[in-house]
């Protein structure tokens, strides 16, 4: 738990990874390109004192992760979002199994989410059932730009995707994290388009759709959909680190999100190990909308920060929140909905 100025913050980092991006695991030039691309994200937006070498970035250890998240990074609970990329990496980039093995060694602190790929069809459904049972899944992460042989991606509205989402409903897997990427079928469409989220959010009102990176680079389309669909959430990974390099832009993003959505549907995440949660958490707690922008966007209250940093994700994942975090809030623990059923 993070404490500052007499306030306690329960921190859920809702998008973390334990990947293997090493050359030994890279299947081809795409794997190499993917690791390099992630590293450039890390290098471009991290404060200098948090920069790693490319070698460490590709192969950090479980000890690094535990120290960075829990000992230094103020994180109470971390949620692994798998990214398989088996067309790029021999053993996958960060699979449910790889993440889950770490999660099992740190019970109560780490959650391993699963994944499905609608292109796996009928056989994939059975494998998904087994995965759900093995890891007691509460959430899945879908990467619609995932390559699979000749296919360069899929849409959430593809018929088989509906079958898998129905299975999620049956299995009680309520949190569907969506990450859009640069490719899709057909390639002439905008791969980052989030219009298909609108359709599935309407079709599956009991599922929560958490759009990672708040739809970036299509923030406006994400906002337009989320304002109409109460079960659509925004994951703040990739948006968060602008707080350091471009705080005024960060203020605009947060301002837009709070205008179009509300403070109960945004979740903090670092995208570890792309960015270290320590500086993100500390800067966010200290952050305020610049004075000359407050007429436009208002201010960020302590309650809003608490919700974004952890209480909203705690609600989605039924996590118990210490009373000391919610006691001082307007509406107390009711606001957070944090008392587990």
């Amino acid at each position: 738990m993070y404490a500052k100025d007499g306030e306690n913050y329960f921190v859920v980092d809702s998008h973390i990874h334990f990947w293997d991006g090493t050359p030994a695991n890279q299947r081809n030039r795409y794997g190499e390109g993917f690791t390099n691309c992630f590293y450039d994200y890390h290098k471009n937006l991290s404060p200098e004192e948090y920069l790693w070498s490319p070698e460490k970035f590709a192969a950090y250890t479980e000890q690094d992760l535990v120290r960075d998240l829990f000992e230094e990074g103020h994180v109470d609970v971390g949620i692994f979002q798998p990214t398989y990329l088996t067309d790029f990496y021999i053993n996958g980039f960060n699979t449910t199994e790889r993440n889950g093995a770490v999660a099992e060694r740190h019970p109560g602190r780490l959650i391993a989410n699963g994944a499905f790929d609608p292109r796996d069809g009928e056989g994939g459904l059975e494998a998904f059932d087994r995965q759900a049972a093995r890891w007691n899944l509460k959430g899945v992460k879908l990467y619609t730009a995932e390559w699979k042989g000749e296919s360069k991606g899929y849409k959430l509205t593809d018929p088989w995707c509906y079958r898998y989402l129905e299975r999620c409903e049956q299995l009680g897997i309520r949190n569907i994290h969506i990450h859009k990427g640069p490719t899709i079928y057909p390639l002439n469409r905008d791969a980052f388009d989030v219009a298909d989220v609108d359709d599935v959010a309407t079709a599956f009102p009991d599922l929560n759709f958490i759009i990672e990176h708040v739809g970036l680079p299509r923030l406006e389309d994400f906002c337009w959909i989320a304002t109409q669909e109460p079960n659509v959430y925004g994951g703040l990974s990739v948006a968060m680190p602008f707080i350091h390099t471009r705080p005024r832009y960060f203020a605009q993003i947060i301002g837009e999100l709070l205008y179009w959505l509300d403070e109960n549907r945004l979740t903090f995440s670092s995208d570890y190990a792309i960015w270290h949660p320590k500086w993100l958490v500390e800067k966010f707690v200290d952050f305020q909308i610049p004075e000359d922008m407050q007429a436009e966007y208002g201010v960020l209250t302590t309650d809003v920060k608490k919700k974004i940093l952890g209480l909203n994700a705690a609600r989605l994942y039924d996590l118990e929140v210490p009373a000391s975090v919610t006691a001082s809030m307007n509406g107390g623990s009711r606001v957070a909905g944090a008392v587990p059923a």
Partner: protein, 253 residues
């Protein structure tokens, strides 16, 4: 006729640079020359056209995985822009360091179109994609013009009635007219400022919402632009690309 006849040294290169300056990143709505995407530009003699009649351009993007459809549009547009120049007989435009560079470069050189460059993976050309992003560019620009009006004391409730003639001359206004032309909207002085995608009036009760969305589009596009610039610098280092002639005036985005 050859490009060299009576032409001062460097003139062809400058003409190519200006032509490339008309090629925009469709997502970011900025010239590829301003974004640093032109890595190399050189002119050379060819047997057929004489001195300065061959042009070689190398383009680069902020990441290895930038979306292939937008990448294709920039390479194809750059190729077309250079080819149209008088006296240029040989054009070699290629994208570097990109996962789909091979398909894109071969497709553009062979004039194969996007679907022809990615057989089995595309169902159409990129006209619809381009149109979608021109609409976004128009909305972002509308917000810039609107903010300018608000600064001058305009109130939102009369905006449904504002016509282009009412908007004072400014860089934003010229930019708006150009983007209206790009999406086929009227630039007649009597045309309404706030219109929907088809150019129809927006009811006054919905104008505020339309402008609020235009603002979200502007925040998004400008943010993406800054992020892409940052990633390009991270990837290649500062000051590594081609730049235009010294003192050249740049158009405001």
């Amino acid at each position: 006729m050859t490009a060299a006849a009576g032409v001062r040294p460097g003139a062809v290169r400058e003409a190519v640079w200006r032509a490339l300056g008309a090629v925009r990143d469709p997502e970011l709505d900025e010239p590829i020359t301003d974004l640093g995407f032109v890595h190399e530009l050189s002119v050379h003699a060819t047997e057929q056209g004489g001195p300065d009649s061959g042009v070689r351009v190398r383009l680069r993007l902020p990441t290895y995985f930038c979306a292939p459809n937008f990448a294709y549009l920039m390479v194809a547009d750059a190729h077309d822009a250079v080819q149209e120049l008088a006296g240029v007989v040989e054009v070699d435009v290629a994208l570097e360091d990109h996962f789909a560079a091979e398909e894109i470069n071969a497709g553009v050189a062979a004039d194969a179109g996007f679907a022809g460059s990615f057989p089995g993976q595309a169902t159409a050309e990129l006209d619809e994609l381009r149109r979608t992003f021109r609409q976004k560019a128009h909305l972002a620009c509308l917000d810039r013009v609107y903010r300018h009006l608000v600064e001058q004391g305009w109130k939102i409730d009369c905006l449904a009635e504002v016509r282009l003639r009412d908007v004072p001359e400014s860089a934003g206004r010229s930019g708006l007219l150009r983007r209206r032309r790009d999406v086929g909207l009227s630039t007649d002085p009597d045309a309404l400022l706030v219109v929907d995608e088809q150019g129809r009036p927006v009811p006054s009760a919905e104008v505020a919402r339309r402008l609020r969305f235009a603002k979200a589009v502007r925040v998004s596009v400008e943010g993406n632009s800054a992020f892409c610039r940052g990633l390009l610098t991270t990837r290649y280092g500062a000051g590594t690309g081609e730049t235009g002639p010294a003192g050249e005036e740049r158009e405001r985005p």
